[in-house]
Structures are given as C-alpha cells and as structure tokens.
C-alpha cells in the first residue's frame, strides 16, 4: 500500500496553513514535525498522559487521538499560540512562581487543560481542580504545586472580576 496523502487547510495559532499530509499522521506529529510547534509533546500516543493536549475549535483534545486530516478547516491552538495571545499569561506566571513544573514536559498540556477552568472562572475546590487535571500525567511535581498555581490564578481572576 502506498502512502495516502491529503491536502488540508486549517488555522494554527492564528495563521492559515495549507499542507499535504499523510492521512495516517496524527495531529501532534503534524504540528511538531511539519510546522515546528514543538510545545506539544508526545508522552504515550495512546491518549492517557495528556502531554499532547491541544485545542481544536476551542475544545481541548488529545492531539495523538486525532488525525491531522481531521483538523481540515479547524482552528487549532497550541501552547505557543496561547502564549502569544496572552490568554493565560497569569496562569503561566503562577506556574513559574509556584514552580508548578519540574522537567516541563507535561506543562503545555497542563496549561491548556487548566485554561478550561479559567474561561468562565467560578469558585472551585482543590478537589475539583485535581479532578479537572486528572487526565494529565506529571511524574515530577506530585501535582500539589500545579493545583496551587491553578487555584491562585482562578482566585485572582475572581477577585479582579
């Protein structure tokens, strides 16, 4: 069988992209290898670790569980894009100040996942934050610092309205 390919057009971090890709290529391999957005990482490639989390049409998805060709026509955002727009600047700052990462490999996925809680911030307990992040594996921190950073960000946003 020869390699089947397909041309796709999509928006990645605000820029229009048109590329011909192998149909079997998953979204994160496309973002990393074809576009150089290496902020999304591969940790398991079977949908468990969350390191490859990206946003597709405003919803967080596992980038390894979606084919690049399925993103045709979609709006895709990676951590690089969120960094550029400043949408999560406070969350990023709190991650740094609280040292809510060590090796940093899980961090982009954690940020993108945690950002969901910030869209319409409402009071949440630490347990709820933990539940929300429960699909993102971090081997380094033990999660406590990550929960702290997310909690601080939500509380600050609530206080500042």
């Amino acid at each position: 069988m020869s390699e089947a390919t397909l041309e796709i057009s999509l928006t990645v971090n605000g820029e229009q992209v048109t590329k011909t890709v192998p149909v079997r290529q998953h979204l994160v391999d496309f973002l990393r290898n074809e576009l150089g957005f290496t902020g999304s990482h591969l940790g398991c490639e079977h949908g468990v670790c969350g390191a490859c989390s990206v946003r597709v049409d405003d919803a967080v998805v596992r980038g390894c569980l979606m084919l690049a060709v399925q993103a045709d026509g979609a709006k895709v955002e990676t951590v690089e894009g969120l960094n550029e727009t400043g949408e999560i600047a406070d969350l990023q700052k709190n991650f740094v100040e609280r040292n809510a990462m060590q090796c940093g490999y899980c961090t982009p996925g954690m940020l993108i996942t945690a950002a969901e809680l910030l869209r319409e911030p409402k009071p949440v307990s630490r347990e709820e934050i933990r539940e929300h992040l429960s699909g993102n594996f971090c081997r380094c921190t033990g999660y406590h610092a990550i929960v702290d950073a997310v909690e601080t960000t939500i509380n600050t946003r609530l206080e500042e309205g």
Partner: protein, 289 residues
C-alpha cells in the same frame, strides 16, 4: 508507535458513509470520536484498509426530546451529553454516569455512539442504555433497524450490529418522574475503566422497590442485567435481609472475568457491595423527592 498505512475517506453524508461501509466490508472502519480506535491504530493493533470518517456528517449528532423519548445522535460527543439540559432532566442516570467517563479532553471528542458501538465491557454508556431500556438504531444501505439494548450486547466487544451497519441513533425513554436512578463505579483512579460498576433504575414506594433494573459492568464480558438480584428485591420492603438476599442472588447473575484489576471473586464481592450501596442510595433518593 505510528499508525500503519490506511486509506481515509471523509464521508460527507450519512448515505455516503453507509455506501462505503457496504462496499468496503471488513476492510472499512468507521472513525467516530476515535478515542478508542486511535490508540489501537497507533499501537498497530488494528490495520483497517480504509477509515470512514463520519465526523463531518452533521445529521448524526444532537439531542432531542419527543413524546417522552430522548433521541441522541450517535455522533453526539460525551461533553454535549454531559452538558445537555435534556439529559440532566430526563436521564439523570446518564448525567451521573458521565462524571465517570474518562477525562475532559476525551469527553470533548469521544461520542456516545462510538462507546456503544465498541461495547467495551468496562464502559459506562452501554450499561446505562441497557438499564434504561434503550433502543439502538442502526442503518445500512438496506434500511433502518431498531435493536433493543437487551438484544444488542452479545459478548466481549460483540454486538448485534452487522458489519455494514452504522449505529445512528439511541432512543431512550425519559426516566419517569417517580423513578430514581443511581450510578456507581469503582475505579482506582479518576476516569479509569471500571473495576466494577452498577447502573440502577428503580421505582420506590414506601421503602419498597416496585420496579428495578440493575445493570452490572466492568466485571462481565458485557453489561449484564442482575435478574436474580432484582427478583430478590422487587416487592420487598428494603431491609438488611433484603440486601443480603440481593447480594447472594448476584452469584448466579454474574460470571466475572479475572483481569489485571483483580480476580473474579473480588469483582463479585465489589458488585455485591455496590448493589447494597446503590439500593440504599435509591431509597434515600426516593425519600428525598
């Protein structure tokens, strides 16, 4: 861990998907939410000739309520089910179960139809549709067929859906206002597949179960109705003896599978525990109404 080569066709309509399914036979695989299929592709555990992507087929998703029946399109994503006021109001069992389905990112993409079509024995939705007496609607180029949930789940990942059929819709009678439902699941970590689980729908009057459905999952090769346990409870005033009778009857209802999560004996024990807890909770909820 890269997927093997395959062909890919994005179906533009339901009809096109059905035609492709028919033409390709065993060689074609439906790509719905992909949350179970994609891992097996990446691991090269499945090697389909052609993936038929139905994500762009718009008339396969949505939730409506008509004449006391909730219709859920097969491509409705878990997140939409979880956030649906129709589901919250009419199918509280499913709303409760949704909290146990994987994680946010997976719920954003995974679909209820995909879960039921795959029939993973530890998944929540198959148990719910069986407990709620749902009808599963499948279509092929030859037409439409309705299958009762009782007749749909045939074994480990085996269903009554033929290879050329597409699951298109799930029809679920709205829970009656005097019903209560309880969904319990034991998983070691949040969002994991169940070690043992139970979907319970009941009508309770004066601490007596007048109607009851108990569907067990996670321990069996398919969602399984606990007929003996139900019989031990229905018509009885709820009591410690009644609880014990239900637990005892369960030994004949279930035939748990030993797997990495534990032995058959442990799973039977857990299902007994969950039975008591679910029925306690049902009584409590009925009294709270």
């Amino acid at each position: 861990m890269k997927a093997p080569k395959f062909n890919y066709i994005r179906a533009e309509s339901r009809q096109q998907a059905l035609e492709l399914l028919d033409q390709l036979g065993e060689d074609g695989r439906i790509l719905a939410g992909g949350q179970s299929l994609m891992p097996t592709l990446n691991m090269r555990l499945s090697q389909p000739g052609t993936l038929i992507d139905i994500n762009k087929v718009t008339d396969l998703s949505g939730i409506t309520l008509e004449d006391g029946i909730v219709r859920i399109g097969a491509m409705t994503r878990h997140v939409e089910v979880a956030n649906s006021p129709i589901i919250a109001e009419n199918l509280p069992l499913i709303a409760e179960a949704m909290q146990h389905v994987a994680h946010h990112a997976v719920r954003n993409r995974g679909t209820i139809g995909g879960s039921i079509a795959l029939a993973d024995p530890a998944a929540e939705m198959p148990a719910c549709v069986l407990a709620l007496g749902a009808t599963l609607v499948v279509e092929s180029i030859n037409g439409r067929r309705e299958i009762a949930a009782e007749d749909y789940f045939k074994g480990l990942y085996e269903t009554a859906r033929a290879a050329n059929e597409l699951l298109v819709e799930i029809l679920i009678p709205a829970e009656k206002s005097d019903n209560v439902s309880v969904f319990l699941e034991l998983a070691q970590r949040h969002g994991d597949f169940a070690m043992a689980g139970l979907a319970c729908v009941a009508r309770v009057s004066n601490k007596t179960f007048e109607e009851l459905r108990l569907v067990y999952f996670g321990s069996e090769d398919r969602p399984t109705l606990g007929a003996g346990a139900i019989a031990a409870v229905v018509g009885q005033t709820w009591s410690a003896e009644c609880k014990e009778a239900a637990a005892n009857a369960l030994a004949d209802d279930l035939d748990p599978m030993t797997n990495l999560q534990g032995s058959a004996a442990m799973k039977l024990h857990l299902q007994k525990v969950l039975t008591g807890r679910a029925l306690d909770a049902a009584i409590e909820r009925a009294e709270a109404v």
